[in-house]
Amino acid sequence: MWEMAKQRDAYGETLVELGRERDDIVAIGADLCGSCRIKEFGKEFPERFFNSGVAEQNMMGVAAGLAFQGKTVFASTFAVFATGRAYDQVRQSIAYTRANVKIVATHAGITVGGDGASHQMLEDIALMRVLPNIRVVAPADYYETSKATRTIADMDGPFYMRLGRSSVPIITDEDSLFEFGKASILKDGDDVTLIGTGIMVSRCLKAAKMLQKKENIEARVVNMSTIKPLDEKTIVKAAKETGGVVTAEEQVVSQGMGSGISQVLSESYHVPMKRVGVPNVFGESGNSEELMEKYGLTAEAIVESAHDVIARK
């Protein structure tokens, strides 16, 4: 099977490289600098590294102030605090002003595990994709995280990048292309489309393999690593060519990526659809795999949804 690696490791390593290449890169954290992997940047560039302590609202404001003076600012904490605790600061000081701040949140989703519901952020995609000016990226693995970190550093203005805590399968390689705003097709197929984001992309690949092996169903697998703006062209083309779409994300289904895709399709090309994700509930403690299973974030759930979609074609 796949090798495993943590997205946040890729982020931390790339940030240090960027710091060496560019003087305008600065980083700020909120007491979780080790967990978010920005500590190494701080060690190498102490004069460009700041810690707000347990004060995420202040962190976002300080990040905006740094950005107004020409800095490219990476602000990192857990997803629950970055998007929940500091929502108004992100809205007013960063999104409204189009500040050049890259909010890179780690520990998103239910795979946070043992910490439980208070730390399992399942609403962040919803909260961020509704904000004007903010672009939302959720890389699928280690390599894509590294490339996305570079890409958002090169593009002016605010971004939200969503990373997890645990190790995730490496499904791309050093040479795969990451293009902001463009979904990538990881497997071709004409029977149904499986669109995943983040950790769920590898599960879509697994589901596609299961469908192919057992039932000769050829599923197209799409990695939607940019959630805002959505790559509408790829979505509509896939809907036209496969006639049915399943989306998968580690997020509440009510307002996540799948909802965005259903909005695109309901206005442009109507096909049967099913969204895999967490229902509108809070999580709980447990290990990552157990939780993924309990909350229906499995390859099996994607396969089942594909059957449902195909039956309705």
Binding site: V26, E47, R48, F50, S52, G53, A55, Q57, N58, M60, G61, V62, A63, A64, G65, L66, A67, F68, Q69, G70, K71, D88, Q89, R91, Q92, S93, Y96, T97, R98
Partner: protein, 277 residues
């Protein structure tokens, strides 16, 4: 220490008088806005823009300029007044305040208005932005200073104290904050809503250099800034005791004019008092 001579004080008072006229007229034209807290902050803004700050109205983005963050963003009419008086945009434009398509939004928008250094309006956020600006000046070894005007109701906001600890931790001594202590917030007296006192000792205990002045005394405003500029290793807080609605008798100390503009009749009375038309 440098002080202002009487002639200069007279000139500054004359500028502040005109700015007050703009405040009451522009909010009247808009039919809404916050004249009370604009008038209490007018004298501080006047001294800052006309005596202290290094800035170039014909080059609003000049890198070396001193910055001002109006953390109490609802006092925008006063800020727009000093910016227009400085020459950032025509004085007539003030009358477009809050109108559709105007560059002068209800609360400051740095992307729309020349001379506005930070977008504010949601209280409590400006001080954090100013901290970020100060850190950037340190990284870049620049000499510009960052001035902030906070409201007293704003002191109830948690983020202010997060920023307060942060500024002291990072020894942001080019950060000078005025607290416009006009005693009133929209729901009543700050002390009746949620007391912020003892505000001087609070800021002292947070590691700040703190002064207390009469916020309508041009000479004292000037001197307090000079003193603050000499402080090393600490951010500065100047608690400026002010009167809400200062300069217009029926607005002074009045809750009603926190977030309400004068009607046409009231405007006439106000203009008569301010010697304007």
């Amino acid at each position: 220490m440098e002080t202002l001579n009487d002639d200069r004080i007279k000139e500054l008072k004359e500028i502040a008088r005109r700015v007050r006229i703009y405040v009451v007229k522009s909010t009247n034209a808009a039919g809404s806005g916050h004249p009370g807290g604009s008038l209490s902050a007018t004298d501080m803004l006047t001294v800052l823009y006309f005596e202290i700050m290094d800035h170039k109205p014909d080059e609003p983005d000049w890198e070396e300029r001193d910055r001002l963050v109006l953390s109490k963003g609802h006092a925008a009419p006063a800020l727009y007044g000093v910016l227009a008086e400085s020459g950032y945009f025509p004085i007539e434009e003030l009358m477009t305040l809050r109108a559709l398509g105007s560059r002068l939004q209800g609360h400051p928008d740095m992307r729309k208005t020349p001379g506005v250094d930070a977008s504010t309006g949601s209280l409590g956020q400006g001080l954090s932005i100013a901290c970020g600006m100060s850190l950037a000046s340190n990284i870049d070894r620049k000499n510009y200073r960052i001035f902030v005007i906070c409201g007293d109701g704003e002191m109830q906001s948690g983020q202010i104290w997060e920023a307060g600890m942060f500024a002291a931790q990072y020894k942001l001594d080019n950060l000078i904050v005025f607290l416009d202590r006009n005693q009133l917030q929209i729901d009543g007296s700050t002390e009746e809503v949620v007391s912020i006192e003892p505000i001087v000792s609070k800021w002292k205990s947070f590691g700040w250099h703190v002064q207390e002045i009469d916020g309508h005394d041009m000479g004292k405003i000037y001197e307090s800034i000079q003193k603050a500029l000499e402080v090393e290793g600490k951010p500065s807080m100047i608690v400026a005791h002010t009167v809400k609605g200062k300069g217009v008798t029926f607005m002074e100390g009045s809750l009603a004019f926190h977030g309400k503009a004068a009607n046409d009749e009231q405007l006439e009375i106000a203009l008569k008092e301010l010697g304007g038309k």
